[in-house]
């Protein structure tokens, strides 16, 4: 039951992009077409889950026992940077086309606030390791969901007549705002 609450909360009620404002750069940058969006979401999910596990272990087995909590930011971001490097290498070998499609956005996963954000949130919400993993996977699903919906909407918008001043980022942001409003409808649920 506990896990169900974490899952629903992370995907719908507190969606990481639409309610917590994390992951906006890739959200705006990679959502122009749905295939790249799915690829990005999968890569993020992988890195997010792995990094949550590793940072959890670092926090509770190294930082806390040695009372060096102030090294949290540095150690966490180093882990994330290393993991992204790893994913890049694996992806190049396993799926060169996806690697090409993601392009510059792949190294940008390092600076994706969602990954560092989820790592820190797992610690502040005092989840145990399993809850942390569930949280990470659900958040990544929420990220993917928001990305996918948004990508489809943007593909439709290409075919529409948009006023000059609003073309591009402005209309994307306003659409995201309306999407965020829709997701607010989930807020009483948990």
């Amino acid at each position: 039951m506990q896990y169900l609450i974490i899952i629903i909360s992370a995907i719908l009620v507190n969606n990481i992009v639409l309610a917590q404002f994390l992951g906006i750069c890739p959200f705006l940058g990679v959502s122009k077409n749905s295939t790249t969006a799915i690829g990005m979401a999968a890569a993020v999910a992988f890195v997010m889950t792995l990094s949550t596990i590793v940072t959890y272990l670092i926090q509770y087995f190294i930082l806390d026992p040695l009372h060096v909590g102030y090294l949290q930011t540095i150690s966490f971001i180093l882990v994330i940077a290393a993991l992204v490097q790893l994913v890049e290498i694996i992806l190049k070998k396993v799926s060169p086309s996806l690697y090409q499609a993601l392009g510059v956005y792949l190294p940008l996963i390092t600076t994706n606030c969602t990954i560092l954000g989820v790592a820190i949130l797992t610690i502040t919400k005092q989840f145990n390791l399993i809850e942390g993993v569930v949280f990470a996977i659900s958040t990544a699903c929420g990220f993917g969901l928001a990305l996918l919906i948004f990508a489809h909407i943007r593909e439709q918008m290409e075919l529409m007549n948009i006023p000059e001043g609003l073309k591009g980022t402005p209309i994307a942001l306003i659409t995201a705002g309306i999407l965020a409003m829709a997701f607010m409808g989930f807020s009483g649920m948990v």
Partner: protein, 213 residues
């Protein structure tokens, strides 16, 4: 000087040096700010206590008490008047069920158990939403929200959605539930402390209140 080539030894050396220097600098800054951080926390605490209790002359020794079925204890700050009679007790309570985790509240109870005031000490709730806990639940013009002056024995301290007497903050039900839960926890523990103890008047100067330490 030309950039060193990217062989393993250079890469390892560069990254190691940078990280080592960084950790050293941070260790230093941490030492320098540790005292100030601790002081800032205590000051926030004392300011909070003074603001939420009826006027008192001095604070007695604070003590901890473990709520039923919980792992983390609450801290009690008894306040006494000039005649050494108990004026009220501030309780530092918490809820782990906030939207973003831990919410720490300081709530003041009069000797009858009425809420004399509260302060939100620590939270990571959404700015503009959960962070409105203080203004919302102390709004004197809104009896369905205002908790000040109420007594958890007489009012049901839950959100209306769950059958209680209080209106939740718009779009911040989770924060609201956490807030009310923390007060319930404080009150229940306060009541059991009161039941364990002798009369509330103490003769000579600041003393322990005889509760658990």
């Amino acid at each position: 000087m030309a950039q060193p080539e990217s062989n393993f030894k250079n890469m390892f050396l560069a990254l190691f040096t940078v990280t080592f220097v960084a950790a050293a600098i941070l260790g230093l800054v941490n030492e320098r700010t540790k005292a100030a951080i601790a002081r800032a926390d205590i000051e926030q605490q004392n300011l909070a206590i003074a603001a939420i209790l009826p006027p008192f002359t001095y604070l007695g020794k604070s003590y901890k008490s473990l709520p039923k079925d919980e792992k983390d204890s609450l801290q009690f700050f008894p306040a006494f008047g000039k005649d050494s009679a108990l004026v009220g007790t501030a309780v530092k309570t918490y809820s782990k069920k906030g939207f973003s985790g831990l919410v720490t509240i300081m709530v003041g109870f009069t000797t009858e158990g009425n809420i004399s005031g509260f302060r939100v000490l620590e939270h990571k709730e959404t700015p503009g939403l959960g962070s409105r806990m203080y203004n919302w639940f102390s709004d004197k013009n809104k009896p369905k929200q205002n908790v000040i002056g109420t007594n958890p024995d007489k009012s049901n301290f839950m959100v209306m959605k769950d059958g209680g007497s209080f209106d939740a903050i718009t779009a911040a039900t989770i924060s609201s539930r956490a807030f009310l839960e923390s007060i319930r926890r404080a009150y229940d523990t306060w009541k059991s402390e009161k039941a364990l103890n002798a009369p509330t008047t103490v003769k000579a100067g600041p003393t322990k209140k005889g509760g658990t330490l």
